[in-house]
C-alpha cells in the first residue's frame, strides 16, 4: 500500500529575523522564537507521522542567510545508530522524530549564535529562502524513482514585515512555483503581507494571519497539515482580498496608476524620458501649454 501513496514533500520556511524576534520577546514573553520552533516541530512531526512516505525540509530565513535546518549535511539515515552522544529515542517518541527534532534544535541554536546583524541588513531574506526551497524541491523531484509522483508545498511562517527591495525576486519566485505546481501557504504572525497574499492566491495555497500566536501549533495542525487532496474535502479559511497593486521600479511604492514602458513593461510612478530597465528613449507628445514649461525635456526620436 505504501508504494501506491503519492509522495508529499513539505518545505517549511521559518522567518527567524533576530530583530523582530528580539522585540517580540519583550512584547510577549510567552511566545518567543523557542515556542515558535516548538510549534513548527509539532507540525513537522505530525506531517511525517501522517504517511510513511512523507518528506520534510525546514529552512531558517535570517537577515544574513538562508540555512537548511533539516535535512543537513551532518545527518545521514543510518548513522545515528552508532553515535554515542545521540542514541536515538530514550522515551516513547518515534525515533525518526527524536533525531530530527534534536538536529533542528542544534542547528537553529548555532545559526542564531554565529550570525551577526550588521548595519542596514535588517530585513529577512525571504525571497532567497523561497528560491532555495524551490531548488531543493526540484532536486528531490529529479531523484525520484521511475514512476513515482510527488506533490510539494512550501509553508512560510512570517514574522517581520515585507521587504520592498525583494519585490521583483519575490514575484519571480511565485511564478516559478506556479509553473511547477508547487503550493505556497502562508502563516503570518504579525502584519499582513501583500506579497504572500499574492503568492497564495497565484499558487493556490492558503493564507492565514493567526489571531493568537500562542495557539500557533493548533492553527498549523488544523489549517496547514492537510495536503491538497485532503484540502478539497475540508472547510478551510476563505481566500482574503488580495492587494494586487504593483510596485514602481523607481521607489518600490505601491501604485494604482502609473507609466509603463512599451518595450519591457516596467512600471514607473513618474514620467522619465528613458526607461531605466531597457534604456528605451520615450517620445511623448505633450499638450501645447506644457511644452513651454518643460524646457529641459528634449523630445528625442
Amino acid at each position: 500500500m505504501a508504494s501506491d501513496d503519492e509522495l508529499s514533500l513539505l518545505v517549511i520556511v521559518v522567518d527567524v529575523n533576530p530583530i523582530w524576534w528580539g522585540q517580540q520577546a519583550q512584547r510577549e514573553p510567552e511566545f518567543t522564537l523557542s515556542k515558535c520552533m516548538d510549534a513548527v516541530m509539532v507540525m513537522s512531526n505530525a506531517h511525517l507521522v501522517m504517511t510513511r512516505s512523507n518528506k520534510l525540509a525546514i529552512i531558517a530565513s535570517h537577515c544574513r542567510e538562508s540555512h537548511f535546518l533539516y535535512p543537513n549535511k551532518h545527518w545521514k539515515a543510518g548513522d545515528f545508530a552508532g553515535d554515542e552522544s545521540s542514541c536515538g529515542s530514550r522515551d516513547g517518541k518515534y525515533e525518526l522524530l527524536t533525531v530530527g527534532n534534536d538536529l533542528i534544535s542544534e542547528e537553529i541554536k548555532n545559526l542564531m549564535e554565529r550570525t551577526e546583524v550588521r548595519g542596514q541588513q535588517t530585513e529577512t531574506l525571504l525571497a532567497g529562502s523561497l528560491a532555495k526551497a524551490l531548488c531543493y524541491i526540484h532536486r528531490v523531484t529529479k531523484e525520484l524513482d521511475a514512476g513515482q509522483e510527488m506533490k510539494s508545498r512550501i509553508l512560510v511562517i512570517k514574522a517581520a514585515d515585507d521587504s520592498a527591495l525583494q519585490y521583483m525576486n519575490f514575484m519571480n519566485v511565485i511564478f516559478a512555483a506556479q509553473k511547477q505546481s508547487i503550493l505556497i501557504d502562508a502563516c503570518v504572525l504579525d502584519a499582513d503581507s501583500g506579497l504572500l497574499q499574492q503568492a497564495c492566491d497565484i499558487t493556490g495555497g492558503l493564507y492565514l494571519k493567526v489571531p493568537q500566536k500562542i495557539a500557533l501549533a493548533q492553527y498549523l495542525l488544523w489549517v496547514f497539515l492537510p495536503d491538497s487532496d485532503q484540502r478539497s474535502q475540508l472547510v478551510l479559511p476563505p481566500p482574503v482580498h488580495v492587494d494586487y497593486r504593483a510596485a514602481c521600479f523607481c521607489h518600490r511604492n505601491l501604485i494604482e496608476i502609473g507609466y509603463v514602458c512599451s518595450v519591457c513593461l516596467s512600471i514607473f510612478c513618474n514620467f522619465s524620458p528613458i526607461c531605466t530597465t531597457c534604456e528605451t528613449a520615450f517620445k511623448i507628445a505633450l499638450p501645447h501649454a506644457m511644452k513651454a514649461k518643460k524646457k529641459k525635456l528634449k523630445p528625442t526620436t
Binding site: 507521522v49 552508532g82 522515551d91 516513547g92 517518541k93 518515534y94 522524530l97 497539515l225 485532503q230 475540508l234
Partner: protein, 268 residues
C-alpha cells in the same frame, strides 16, 4: 499478536473491531501501536485525529460535522464510522445536553507520546550493550548484496536516466536472460564425487557423482548410446539436464541406480 505491514486497511480494522474495549485499551497503551493504527486510517480520519489530539474538552458533534464540505459527506461518514468502530473516540454528554466527541484518552496520550516524547522507551535500552560485535558497516553490506545480485543490480543502478522513466527499467528480455544464466550456474555445484568408467567394447561412458545434485554422464563414445540412456532416463523421469551436442547428461542420485541397472541389461 503481530501486526504485519502488508495487512491492508480493511483487514486490520476488521480484526481490531472484533476485540473488546478492554483489549483495545491495552493495545493502545503503546505509542508504537497507536502510530501503526493511526497510519492505517483513511486520510480524513487522520486529520480529525490530529485536530483533536491537543484538545482536552470534547467537541460538539455538530461542530465536527461542519469540518467537511457538503459534497464530501460520504467520506465524513466513512471516517466517523472507522473512528467509532476502533473506539478511537467516544461520545460524551456536554453540559447543555449536546452530544460531544472526544478522543479515547489512552489512545490520545500514547499518540502524543509517539509524536512528542515522554513515557517509556519502545525497546530495551540498548546503550548498555556497547558496540555491536557483529556490526557490519554499510559498505560491506552493499558489497555483499551486490555480489549476490551483481549484474542486474549493476545495470539497474547505472541505467541511463531516459531508461529510468520506463517501467520496468531494464528490458525484460535482458533481465530474464541474465536471471536464467545465474540459475544455470547455480544448478551445477562442483563437489567431490566419484568417477566411474563403464567400459566395454563399443559401449562406454563415464559418470561422475556430484554431491547430492546428481550424476553427470559424459564421454559417451557414440551418439546412439547417449540417446538410449537419455531416453530411458527421461522415461523414468530422472533426467535433470542434457546436452546432446557434447553428449552429456545429468541424472538424479536416486535415478542413477536405475539407469545403471538398465545399462547393464543393455550390455548383454
Amino acid at each position: 499478536m503481530k501486526l504485519r505491514e502488508q495487512l491492508r486497511c480493511k483487514n486490520l480494522h476488521e480484526f481490531l473491531k472484533e476485540l473488546s474495549p478492554a483489549v483495545l485499551d491495552r493495545l493502545y497503551n503503546h505509542p508504537a501501536t497507536c502510530l501503526a493504527v493511526f497510519r492505517e486510517l483513511p486520510q480524513l480520519a487522520k486529520n480529525y485525529v490530529m485536530r483533536m489530539l491537543f484538545l482536552e474538552q470534547p467537541l460538539p458533534q455538530a461542530a465536527v460535522a461542519y469540518w467537511v464540505k457538503k459534497e464530501n459527506q460520504k467520506e465524513h461518514e466513512e471516517s466517523t464510522g472507522v473512528l467509532s468502530g476502533l473506539r478511537l473516540w467516544h461520545t460524551q454528554q456536554l453540559p447543555g445536553g449536546l452530544q460531544g466527541l472526544i478522543l479515547n484518552p489512552i489512545f490520545k496520550d500514547n499518540l502524543r507520546i509517539a509524536l512528542l516524547g515522554g513515557g517509556k522507551a519502545w525497546a530495551d535500552d540498548t546503550s548498555q550493550f556497547g558496540p555491536d560485535k557483529h556490526a557490519r558497516d554499510i559498505d560491506s553490506l552493499d558489497k555483499y548484496a551486490i555480489e549476490r545480485w551483481e549484474i542486474i543490480h549493476f545495470l539497474r543502478t547505472r541505467a541511463h536516466p531516459v531508461m529510468l522513466k520506463q517501467t520496468p527499467v531494464l528490458p525484460p528480455t535482458i533481465t530474464d536472460q541474465i536471471a536464467l544464466w545465474e540459475l544455470e550456474r547455480d544448478r551445477l555445484q562442483f563437489s567431490e564425487g566419484k568417477t566411474q568408467s563403464y567400459g566395454n567394447s563399443g559401449v562406454s561412458f563415464k559418470t561422475q557423482s556430484y554431491g547430492d545434485i546428481g550424476v553427470l554422464y559424459n564421454q559417451f563414445l557414440s551418439q546412439v548410446d547417449f540417446e538410449v540412456l537419455r531416453n530411458h532416463a527421461k522415461d523414468l523421469g530422472v533426467l535433470i539436464w542434457e546436452n546432446p551436442q557434447n553428449r552429456v547428461m545429468v541424472v538424479t542420485q536416486a535415478g542413477h541406480s536405475d539407469v545403471k541397472k538398465f545399462w547393464k541389461r543393455q550390455k548383454h
